[in-house]
C-alpha cells in the first residue's frame, strides 16, 4: 500500500442492540431505534425498512421472520462497512456482523464435532461452549455459504475501499476444542509417551482442520477474488512447545494459494512464559518457517505498551524474514472500558512512531486496534476508531 501507516480493523464490532433484542424476541426500546436512525444518518445508510421492522418489534414479543432477520443482518453489515469507510479506514470489512462469535461460527458447522453439555468457564464468569472432536473434522455440506460466501459477496458488492476478510485459523480451533478423537486414535502408537501423544494428537487435529475445514473457506473467497485474507490465532503462544504445529497448520491452509495477501492476527502473547523468552519472542524461530506468502502479522501490543521490547524480535530477524506488522495501538480490554480510560491521538501517534523506529522501516507499519471490539459498547468503539484514525494522521505528519 502506498499510503504511510494504513489503518484497518482486526475483527468484530458489537451487534446493534436493536438487532440483538429483535432477534431474541425481546421488545426493542426507543433508545435502540434512535441509535439505529442516528448511525444510519451519520454513515448514509438507508434505514427505513429496518426501522419499520424494529417499530413492529418495539411493543411485541416474539420471533422475527427469517426475511426480517436477514434484513437486519444486511443492514448491520452495511452500516459497519460504511462506518469504517466513513471514519477513514484504509482496509475494511463488516465488523463480523453476521457471525455469532469467532469459534462458534466455525465449530457449529463441522461434522465430527459434538457440543459439550455445559458452557466451560474461561475468564471470571465468562464461559464458552467447547466442541468435542469425536471423528475426523469436515466442513458440513453446504455450510460455506453461511460461513463466508454470503458475507464476503455482500461486502465486495458494497465496499468502496479495499477489503480484508478474517477467517479462523485451524490451530485456534484445535486449541479451543476437546481433542478426544485424535487422542484415542493415536494412543496405541504413542501411549507410553504422554507428551508425544498430546503433541501428535494436536498436530493431526490441526492439520485435519486446516485441510478439511479452513482451507475450503479460503479457496471459496479466493475464487471470488478476495484480495486479503486474515487468519485469526488468538491462542498462538498458549502451548509454547506446540508453536511449530501452528506454523504447519497455517502452511497447510495456504499452500498453493495464489494472488491473495495473507496475514495472521495474533493476540494475548504469553508474558509469563516461565522461560527466558516472553511475548512475541516465543514465536521465533518457528515463524521463519511460515509460507513466504504470509507476510503480514497483526499484533496485540497496546495493552502492554512495550513496543520497543515486543517488536525488537522482529527487527532482530529482519534479515531472515521481514513481516509487515499491523501494530495494535488501542487497548480494547473491558478493564479500560470499566475505568473509562482511552488513549489520546497523541499516544497513538507516539506508539506508531515507536513501532516504526524499532522496526527501522515506516513502510512495514500498519495501524489497528489490539483485537476485535465485540465486547465493548458501540459508542466506545466509535470513539476508539476516531482516536486511532486521528493518531495515524498525526503520525503521518511526523
Amino acid at each position: 500500500m502506498s499510503k504511510l501507516f494504513p489503518t484497518y480493523e482486526v475483527g468484530s464490532l458489537p451487534k446493534l442492540n436493536a438487532r440483538v433484542r429483535a432477534v431474541r424476541g425481546q421488545p426493542v426500546t426507543d433508545e435502540d431505534i434512535k441509535e439505529v436512525r442516528s448511525l444510519a444518518k451519520r454513515f448514509s445508510v438507508e434505514e427505513s425498512e429496518v426501522v419499520e421492522i424494529l417499530e413492529r418489534q418495539r411493543q411485541k414479543k416474539g420471533k422475527l421472520t427469517s426475511e426480517e432477520e436477514t434484513a437486519l443482518a444486511d443492514f448491520n453489515a452495511l452500516l459497519y462497512l460504511r462506518l469504517q469507510e466513513g471514519m477513514g479506514f484504509d482496509v475494511v470489512y463488516d465488523g463480523e456482523a453476521r457471525r455469532a462469535e469467532m469459534y462458534q461460527h466455525v465449530a457449529t458447522r463441522v461434522s465430527g464435532f459434538e457440543k459439550s453439555p455445559e458452557m466451560i468457564r474461561s475468564r471470571g464468569p465468562d464461559s464458552w461452549r467447547m466442541a468435542v472432536c469425536v471423528d475426523t473434522p469436515v466442513l458440513q455440506e453446504g455450510s460455506l455459504a453461511d460461513l463466508v460466501i454470503r458475507e464476503f459477496e455482500f461486502v465486495r458488492k458494497h465496499a468502496v475501499r479495499p477489503i480484508k476478510i478474517p477467517i479462523d485459523d485451524p490451530y485456534m480451533i484445535a486449541v479451543m476444542s476437546d481433542n478426544r478423537y485424535y487422542l484415542e486414535s493415536l494412543r496405541p502408537e504413542y501411549g507410553d509417551d504422554p507428551r508425544q501423544l498430546r503433541y501428535e494428537a494436536k498436530r493431526a487435529f490441526t492439520l485435519a482442520l486446516a485441510r478439511r475445514v479452513i482451507r475450503p473457506q479460503v479457496e471459496a473467497v479466493v475464487e471470488r477474488r478476495a484480495a486479503w485474507i486474515q487468519l485469526d490465532i488468538p491462542a498462538a503462544t498458549l502451548d509454547i512447545k506446540h508453536i511449530p504445529i501452528l506454523v504447519e497448520g497455517v502452511n497447510a491452509v495456504v499452500e498453493g494459494i495464489k494472488d491473495v495477501k495473507l496475514s495472521l492476527h495474533l493476540c494475548y502473547p504469553r508474558r509469563v512464559s516461565l522461560t527466558e523468552e516472553k511475548g512475541y519472542e516465543l514465536l521465533f524461530p518457528a515463524l521463519l518457517n511460515l509460507n513466504p506468502q504470509v507476510n503480514h502479522l497483526s499484533l496485540e501490543l497496546a495493552n502492554a505498551d512495550q513496543y520497543e521490547d515486543d517488536l525488537a524480535i522482529f527487527a532482530q530477524y529482519r534479515d531472515q524474514r521481514q513481516f509487515e506488522l499491523g501494530v495494535g495501538v488501542m487497548d480494547i480490554t473491558l478493564e479500560q472500558q470499566q475505568r473509562k480510560r482511552m488513549e489520546t491521538p497523541e499516544i497513538v501517534k507516539n506508539r506508531i512512531l515507536r513501532a516504526a523506529t524499532t522496526l527501522g522501516d515506516d513502510r512495514l507499519v500498519y495501524v489497528a486496534p489490539d483485537c476485535g471490539l465485540r465486547q465493548l459498547q458501540l459508542d466506545r468503539c466509535l470513539k476508539l476508531y476516531e482516536t486511532m484514525i486521528e493518531g495515524a494522521e498525526l503520525a503521518r505528519r511526523g
Binding site: 459439550s116 455445559e118 507410553d192 509454547i240 512464559s273 516461565l274 522461560t275
Partner: protein
C-alpha cells in the same frame, strides 16, 4: 490398599453458568449464583462420598482462579493483568504483591463451603504452592526471591493451619510451575531451591497431611528432588510424565498421588489399563500410600465430564479392591 480422590476445581454446571451469566448481565441477582454454587457443591460432595473417594474435595465453585482469595482478601496483594492459566483457555489475574505480607487467617473461607465438607478428617482443600504463586506474580518489597517465597509460604501456612483447625484432613498445594519449567527446559538450581524453601515453611501443618501436587508438566527428571521435599504426599501428572520414569524410583516413606485420569480430555481411559499401571507402581516403587487421582481439576471440561471421570475413579478403585 490404593485410595482415590479428585484433585481440584470441578466443572461448572449449566445451571451455575446461567445464574452467573444472568447476574453478570444484570438480569438476575448475584445471590442466585451463590445459592446455585452451594447447591452444586452439596451435590458434588455427595457424589464423591457415593463414589467412595478417600478424600472429599471442595469443588471450588466460588473460585475463578487459584489466587483469587489472596488478590481480594490479603493486604498487600492486588489483581494485575490477566494471563492464560498455563496452556488452557482459562485466565487468571497476575497477583501484584507488595511485601512483606502480614499473616492473617480465614481469607479463603468465603470462597469455600467448609460447613458442607465432612468433619471426620476426610475433607481436602487446595491452596497454591508458594513457588508457583511467586512465579506467576509480580512482587516488590523483598530483598530477594528467597525472602519473597518464605513470606508467601508463611502466609499460606498460616491459612493452612487455620483450615486444619476447622477439621480438614488434607491440604493440597498446587504446584504446576516447577514441572512446566522442567518441561520447557528452563528450570534452574534457584527454582529448586525456592520450591524447597517454600515447602520447608509450609510442608508440615499440624493435624493434617499435606500434598505437593504437580501438574501440566513432566515431573520425570526431577522426581528424586521432589521426593526429598518435606511434604507427606507427592502428586504426579501421569498424562505428562511417562510411567517408565515413574517406575524408576523408590518412594518408600512418601505417599504418591498418581494423576492417571486426564481431566482435560473427555476421552475415558480404559479402566483395566489404569489398574495395571497402578499395580505396577504399587508393586515396584513401595510408596507409603498410593492414590489414584485425576491429573488436575475437572473444571476444564465441565460438570458432566467431571462426573464421568469421577465415576471412572470409582470403577478403578473398586477393581483395585476386588
Amino acid at each position: 490398599m490404593v485410595g482415590a480422590y479428585l484433585t481440584g476445581a470441578f466443572g461448572q454446571s449449566q445451571d451455575l453458568y446461567k445464574a452467573r451469566n444472568e447476574a453478570k448481565r444484570g438480569r438476575g441477582l448475584p445471590e442466585a449464583a451463590v445459592q446455585q454454587a452451594k447447591k452444586d457443591t452439596q451435590r458434588i460432595i455427595q457424589l464423591q462420598r457415593d463414589a467412595g473417594m478417600d478424600f472429599v474435595v471442595d469443588p471450588m465453585f466460588n473460585f475463578f482462579y487459584l489466587f483469587q482469595p489472596f488478590a481480594e482478601q490479603v493486604e498487600g496483594v492486588k489483581a494485575g493483568p490477566q494471563e492464560n492459566w498455563f496452556n488452557n483457555n482459562v485466565f487468571y489475574w497476575r497477583p501484584q504483591i507488595h511485601g512483606p505480607l502480614p499473616l492473617q487467617t480465614g481469607f479463603t473461607e468465603k470462597y469455600l463451603h467448609l460447613h458442607e465438607l465432612p468433619a471426620d478428617g476426610t475433607a481436602m482443600l487446595v491452596l497454591p504452592s508458594p513457588y508457583t504463586m511467586l512465579m506467576l506474580s509480580d512482587s516488590t518489597g523483598y530483598p530477594d526471591r528467597t525472602e519473597a517465597v518464605t513470606n508467601l509460604a508463611e502466609v499460606i501456612c498460616t491459612e493452612a493451619q487455620h483450615l486444619a483447625s476447622q477439621g480438614i484432613g488434607r491440604i493440597q498445594y498446587d504446584e504446576p510451575a516447577i514441572v512446566v519449567k522442567q518441561s520447557l527446559g528452563s528450570l534452574t538450581e534457584e527454582d529448586l531451591m525456592l520450591l524447597k524453601r517454600g515447602m520447608e515453611v509450609c510442608g508440615h501443618v499440624d493435624g493434617v497431611t499435606t500434598s505437593l501436587h504437580t501438574y501440566f508438566g513432566d515431573a520425570g527428571p526431577i522426581i528424586p528432588y521432589l521426593i526429598s521435599l518435606p511434604v507427606d504426599c507427592l502428586g504426579i501428572d501421569g498424562t505428562e510424565t511417562s510411567l517408565v520414569d515413574i517406575l524408576k524410583h523408590d518412594y518408600a516413606g512418601k505417599e504418591i498421588a498418581l494423576g492417571l485420569l486426564d481431566a482435560r480430555n473427555t476421552s475415558l481411559e480404559d479402566p483395566q489399563r489404569i489398574v495395571e499401571q497402578i499395580r505396577a507402581v504399587a508393586d515396584r516403587t513401595h510408596p507409603a500410600k498410593l492414590w489414584l487421582t485425576t491429573n488436575t481439576g475437572t473444571e476444564y471440561r465441565g460438570f458432566t465430564h467431571g462426573t464421568r471421570k469421577l465415576d471412572l475413579l470409582r470403577r478403578v478403585r473398586s477393581m483395585l479392591h476386588e
